[in-house]
């Protein structure tokens, strides 16, 4: 370990942090060697952003893999991801790896630049090897065959998700005056992963010795059907004066180290390659979720003793070769004894021997509901093995733990709370998941019922409103015109009094009957005349009646005076009144009312 550089940029509150460190395995390297750059990003969230590598003209950069570690302690997450790159120097001298930055949207961290010294390759070995190769090389290549490019895949047909290795070789039998420019191909229905480093070597073809440089890429098909690798190109400057010997063991690096030399420009391109992508066969197990490759699966919990209500980390690890990035979390079996909260994954990828392999760990947060001995049943994981052409279903061993009574039943655990600093990068959109809800709820139900009530139901309050309105108007009118109402009701009240008086007479109470008739007659006249008649003399009362009702005849006035006198006499001299007299008075009163109703208008 030669050099290490680290920079921490702390942004915002102390509760959240994001760091990035960058280091190389050495600070000086020969032009024909590679160096490893490891960039480690750490943060307090479930996922951390990938570092953004700066544009490095002085190195060829290849992704070599990643390694991730996550720790969860009391619901607090710490994540550290190491990204490894292989750097091939292109020029001699002091070179710089610029500052590497990461950002999660809220915070930004940067690692300082790293200085690398690139020196010439050891001369001894090269000089010794050169004549031997010259001798062995024998013939010189024809001009047209001095440079060529060859692209091939290790198979012409593959299953969806199966690894396909794509190799492109640049052969040269002549010196180059500068580094060739490699233009990688584009892919259709394929995703690519670098398989570094660049391999250099020599070979003899048709008696001509060539120096070659090989770049490999792992490809994974996305969907059944045709897949294509579009043409790749190399632009090379062929030296006029043989400055570089293609059989020099450091040829490729030397040629890259040269710049600005004069030469003839040559562009070479490969042909398009077609690959047939076969669909996965039917009969996949229920637990199959698209994984293709060769895997093993294991499960473990972070403790064997826990308390109810406290979070336990339960991890399912998928290990093996294949496109691990595409492996999704296995579905947990029904866990009646646990509440299941968020899931997160960590990914370690290796590229040894040109095979994409590694490990993907899915961590589930489980919270035991109650105390006792609890078992997490086996978790099933299945994959398609392209070597055997069939599916395999694996399952983990059951995991048992002792759960003691806890104090925090069902405490909620959520990664979102501690992942505030993570950067959200939309990568697509989709419909939202099906709902667990059922039924329309009470409010819409009642609203629908109310909206469908028959119209006549709504007429009820309207009728009530109209009725009360009419009553209010009537009351006001009555309040504004009290005499009119007394005038109108005088007849009915008098009739009622007559009935009552006759009942009293039948009951043998003539005196009370006469008193009632007298009071009733006074009230009747008062209601008709609009003044209290009992306070007036008979003559004044009759004058008042004549004044108010000028069209009333003399007969009415006479009969009023006659009845008044008779009632006064009987009322104030009850001893003179017999039962027959009271009855006559009642009849007279009744007849007089009928007459007055006609006259007093």
């Amino acid at each position: 370990m030669a050099a290490a550089a680290a920079a921490l940029l702390w942004a915002g509150p102390a509760a959240a942090y994001l760091t990035v460190t960058a280091e190389t395995d050495r600070t000086s390297v020969e032009i024909n060697e590679n160096l490893y750059l490891t960039v480690t990003v750490a943060g307090d969230s479930a996922s951390v952003p990938e570092p953004k590598l700066p544009n490095m003209q002085n190195f060829n950069v290849y992704s070599s893999g990643r390694s991730q570690s996550i720790s969860i302690i009391n619901g607090k997450i710490t994540t550290s991801v190491s990204f490894t790159y292989i750097l091939t120097p292109r020029f001699l001298g002091a070179q710089t790896i610029p500052s590497i930055t990461v950002s999660n949207g809220k915070e930004k961290a940067a690692a300082p630049e790293i200085r690398i010294t690139v020196s010439k390759a050891a001369q001894g070995a090269a000089q010794q090897a050169k004549p031997a190769r010259r001798a062995a090389g024998g013939a010189r290549a024809a001009k047209g065959d001095q440079l060529f490019l060859k692209a091939e895949t290790d198979r012409k047909a593959a299953y969806v998700g199966e690894q396909i290795n794509f190799s492109i070789r640049f052969y040269t039998a002549v010196p180059l005056s500068s580094n060739p420019q490699y233009i990688p191909p584009s892919f259709k229905n394929l995703i690519a992963e670098d398989l570094p480093p660049v391999r250099n070597g020599e070979t003899t073809i048709n008696g001509v010795r060539y120096s070659y440089s090989e770049i490999k890429t792992a490809l994974f098909a996305l969907t059944p059907g045709p897949a294509q690798i579009k043409p790749a190109s190399v632009i090379a400057q062929v030296s006029v004066d043989d400055q570089l010997d293609p059989f020099d063991p450091n040829f490729f690096q030397k040629m890259m180290a040269m710049s600005g030399a004069q030469g003839q420009s040559r562009q070479l391109s490969t042909d398009q390659l077609d690959i047939e992508i076969k669909p996965l066969p039917g009969g996949a197990p229920a637990s199959f979720a698209g994984a293709v490759g060769s895997y093993t699966v294991s499960a473990a919990s972070d403790r064997s003793d826990a308390k109810a209500g406290e979070a336990v980390n339960f991890s399912v690890t998928v290990n093996g070769s294949g496109n691990l990035k595409a492996v999704t979390a296995p579905k947990l079996p029904d866990l009646a004894d646990f509440k299941v909260f968020d899931t997160m994954s960590s990914l370690d990828v290796r590229k040894d021997n040109d095979v994409i392999s590694g490990r993907k760990t899915f961590t589930y947060i489980l919270v035991p509901r109650s105390e006792g001995r609890k078992t997490i049943p086996p978790v099933k994981f299945s994959f398609f093995d392209p070597k055997t052409g069939g599916y395999r279903e694996l399952q983990t061993e059951p995991v048992t733990m002792n759960v003691e009574k806890g104090q925090q039943e069902g405490r909620s655990v959520n990664f979102a709370g501690v992942a505030e600093a993570s950067q959200v990068t939309p990568s697509g959109s989709d419909i939202r998941y099906v709902s667990e809800e059922t039924g329309g709820g009470n409010l819409p139900f009642l609203a629908a019922k109310a909206a469908r009530l028959p119209l006549w139901v709504h007429a009820l309050p309207a009728a009530l409103l109209a009725l009360t309105f009419w009553l209010a108007r009537l009351n006001r009118f009555r309040a504004d015109n009290p005499l009119l109402f007394r005038f109108r009701r005088a007849r009915s009240e008098a009739d009622r009094d007559v009935d009552e008086a006759e009942a009293l007479i039948k009951a043998g109470k003539p005196n009370e009957a006469v008193s009632l008739l007298y009071d009733s007659f006074m009230d009747y006249l008062s209601d008709k005349c609009g003044a209290k008649v009992s306070a007036l003399t008979m003559r004044k009362a009759v004058e008042l009646m004549r004044a108010r009702f000028p069209r009333a005849g003399d007969r009415a006035a006479d009969e009023v005076q006659e009845l008044w006198s008779a009632l006064e006499l009987r009322h104030f001299s009850p001893e003179a009144a017999g039962s027959e007299g009271a009855g006559d008075l009642a009849k007279k009163y009744s007849l007089l009312i009928e007459l007055l109703e006609k006259e007093l208008k």
Partner: protein, 249 residues
């Protein structure tokens, strides 16, 4: 009166119980999760048949249809769910997503999202119920005002009646505005590949336009046995389309 109302509510609530219990729904959702969309759809359709007023049954069926690439049917089901529960963020999101697959959008261009949300805050049934409630409140408060004519409580009741009447007018205006909504008197083209728009209700008329699958259309005339007269407001054209190719909302 209060007791009777409570008794009515207690009797009414069990009637709105869901057509599916939780375990049945979980089973269907597991099918959906496992990619068995046809089987899940069959179950969701049964739930719709049992309770057509359940917006979640329509929503879940819409999801299954969307996964089956039947975008027209998915739009129709999401639209039905939306008319029943326009406030649900999930329903709004999926309807908008499905509409966007067919070149439409839930919130038209230039319309503020908040205003659009307010416009669809209540379903049509809820709006009608609100109007009825305000009508009853205005009438009863007005009756109280007349019964207590001249007294202070009567004055307060009168003010309440006026306020309820004003709100009633607003709710009626809102209801009227909703009549012009794209989801009122509307349908969705559910035939895969879209529907032809003819110049009259019959095959002997000329085809002069086509409406794509999933397109929301206004139904202008539904009297014919076999054809709807439909209108495309955005393009300003109308024509006749087979009823079997359009599902009415």
């Amino acid at each position: 009166m209060t007791k009777r109302l409570l008794a009515f509510l207690l009797l009414a609530l069990p009637a709105c119980a869901a057509a599916l219990d939780r375990s049945e729904l979980a089973e269907l959702n597991d099918m959906y999760r496992g990619g068995k969309y046809e089987e899940a759809l069959e179950g969701y359709n049964k739930a719709i048949a049992a309770d057509p007023s359940d917006p979640w049954a329509w929503y879940n069926a819409g999801n299954a249809l969307f996964r089956l690439n039947r975008n027209g049917q998915a739009v129709y089901h999401y639209a039905r769910a939306f008319t029943l529960d326009p406030r649900s963020p999930d329903i709004r999101a999926n309807l908008d997503f499905a509409l966007k697959q067919t070149g439409q959008a839930l919130v038209p261009d230039g319309v503020p999202a908040a205003l659009h949300y307010l416009y669809y805050l209540l379903s049509l049934d809820e709006l009608k119920a609100l109007a009825a409630l305000l009508f009853w409140a205005a009438c009863l408060a007005g009756a109280a005002r007349f019964l207590m004519d001249g007294a202070r409580p009567g004055v307060l009741a009168g003010r309440a009646a006026l306020a309820a009447a004003a709100l009633l007018l607003l709710s009626l205006a809102w209801l009227g505005a909703r009549r012009t909504s794209p989801f009122t008197s509307a349908g969705v083209v559910t035939r895969a590949g879209g529907t032809r728009m003819l110049s009259g209700p019959g095959e002997n008329f000329k085809t002069y336009a086509s409406a794509p699958e999933g397109r929301l259309v206004k139904i202008l005339d539904a009297d014919d046995d076999d054809y709807y007269e439909i209108g495309l407001a955005k393009e300003g054209i109308k024509g006749w389309a087979l009823k079997t190719e359009i599902d009415r909302l």
